[in-house]
């Protein structure tokens, strides 16, 4: 028997000590409104502290920058899958996007707004490679609190967000590899470019359905 099977005892407060009462749940997770947290906020500091702790924990368990970024990306992947479901549900668009460009626009606008309260700063197609797109954020949230030592200059903790994007793309059946690169411009030292390299099957499909 499931311990969290709903067992209603009375209507309000119970007499029993909650610490010893048999386990039961007031509202199941499925009964909660998915929009409950839509506009809820926490302090940016809370995220900053949590994220820096995640960075430190991860750093202690990896060898080299590539491995480090991969681990962070893996952490973000699941977040992306969930964000996709939530945002699609809220956009009331239950149809799956199939065109790569539409998916990327969706990330650039809707997802970025949901996550960071603003649109991404640019979405560009690579001129060199047909299967590459670039999404830019001039002031990314996650590396505001992380200072990277000189010897790790290549490292960008937006690898986490790159993982989120990868998760979203994956959820759209659009397999791609996403990496984060610091490309500063004037007065935007943290500007990050997310390089999205589509999988060959995605490119093929795009060609075939043109």
């Amino acid at each position: 028997m499931l311990p969290h099977m709903p067992v209603r005892i009375g209507t309000g407060t119970t007499q029993a000590d909650p610490r010893t009462a048999p386990s039961r749940r007031r509202t199941s997770i499925l009964d909660r409104s998915l929009n409950k947290t839509r506009n809820s906020e926490v302090g940016l500091g809370a995220f900053g502290f949590l994220f820096s702790e995640i960075i430190q924990y991860t750093q202690g368990r990896v060898e080299g920058i590539q491995d480090f970024e991969q681990k962070l990306s893996d952490l973000g992947f699941g977040v992306g899958v969930r964000m996709l479901e939530l945002t699609m549900f809220r956009e009331k668009s239950l149809r799956r996007e199939t065109r790569v460009l539409n998916i990327l626009y969706f990330i650039h606008n809707v997802v970025w707004k949901a996550l960071f309260g603003k649109q991404a700063d640019a979405l560009e197609k690579s001129t060199d490679n047909d299967d590459e797109y670039m999404l830019c954020d001039n002031e990314p949230l996650v590396n505001q609190f992380i200072s990277v030592p000189k010897e790790m200059a290549q490292f960008n903790c937006n690898a986490y967000i790159a993982g989120v994007i990868e998760g979203i793309l994956h959820g759209c059946q659009c397999v791609a590899r996403v990496t984060a690169h610091t490309i500063p411009i004037d007065h935007k030292p943290l500007r990050t470019v997310f390089l999205i390299k589509l999988g060959p099957e995605v490119v093929q499909k795009e060609e075939a359905t043109k």
Binding site: S23, R26, I29, E41, V42, G45, L50, I54, L75, L141
Partner: protein, 187 residues
């Protein structure tokens, strides 16, 4: 008395805290817990690790708290707990847990989390329901932060809605005042 803290907490939240979308925070925390469960394969160790990470956060977070709130020294432990609930929790998580169940010696009490953003979207698998304290990081944060203001406390979850309990309750036990000294490195 308690009202004054609440007003200040609300004022700080409105004017001195930069807010962000809670969902990214919630999912990020979830992602961390999942990773810890994978890495340790043992819920007790995950609890410990979360507590440790919280401690690391707490020792640094206290400075942010003091700077933003401008709060001075608390007169007693009761006041400390009110400030933690109405200002501290408000500032970082935008919630105000209820401070309740004071022991007669005023040295221990409970924080009841009517809301806990960390818990949102979370459903624990059955085996985890018996052992994992999903939000255990909060205990470490309290312990670390209070240690930095020379208060040694023991903090632990005694119930959690994710485990099927009616309420989420953190028990805080005051141990002693610490002498001014170089903090011990927990690493």
């Amino acid at each position: 008395m308690a009202k004054q803290y609440k007003t200040l907490g609300d004022e700080i939240w409105k004017n001195r805290v930069e807010p962000m979308n809670a969902e990214l925070f919630i999912f990020t925390y979830g992602s961390l817990v999942v990773q810890l469960v994978k890495d340790y394969e043992d819920y007790d160790q995950v609890n410990q690790q979360l507590d440790k990470m919280g401690y690391n956060i707490g020792v640094r977070l206290i400075e942010d708290f003091l700077a933003r709130s401008g709060w001075g020294r608390c007169t007693d432990f009761r006041e400390t707990m009110e400030v933690i609930s109405k200002i501290g929790f408000k500032m970082f998580l935008n919630i105000t847990p209820t401070v309740t169940s004071w022991a007669s010696d005023n040295k221990s009490c409970s924080l009841v989390l009517d809301e806990n953003p960390l818990n949102d979207f979370v459903e624990l698998p059955l085996d985890a329901q018996q052992q994992l304290w999903y939000s255990n990081i909060l205990c470490g944060v309290l312990r670390g932060a209070l240690e930095m203001v020379q208060m040694q406390v023991e903090v632990k979850f005694v119930s959690c809605v994710l485990r099927g309990d009616d309420i989420s309750e953190i028990r805080v036990q005051f141990v002693r005042h610490l002498q001014e000294e170089v903090p011990i490195n927990d690493e």
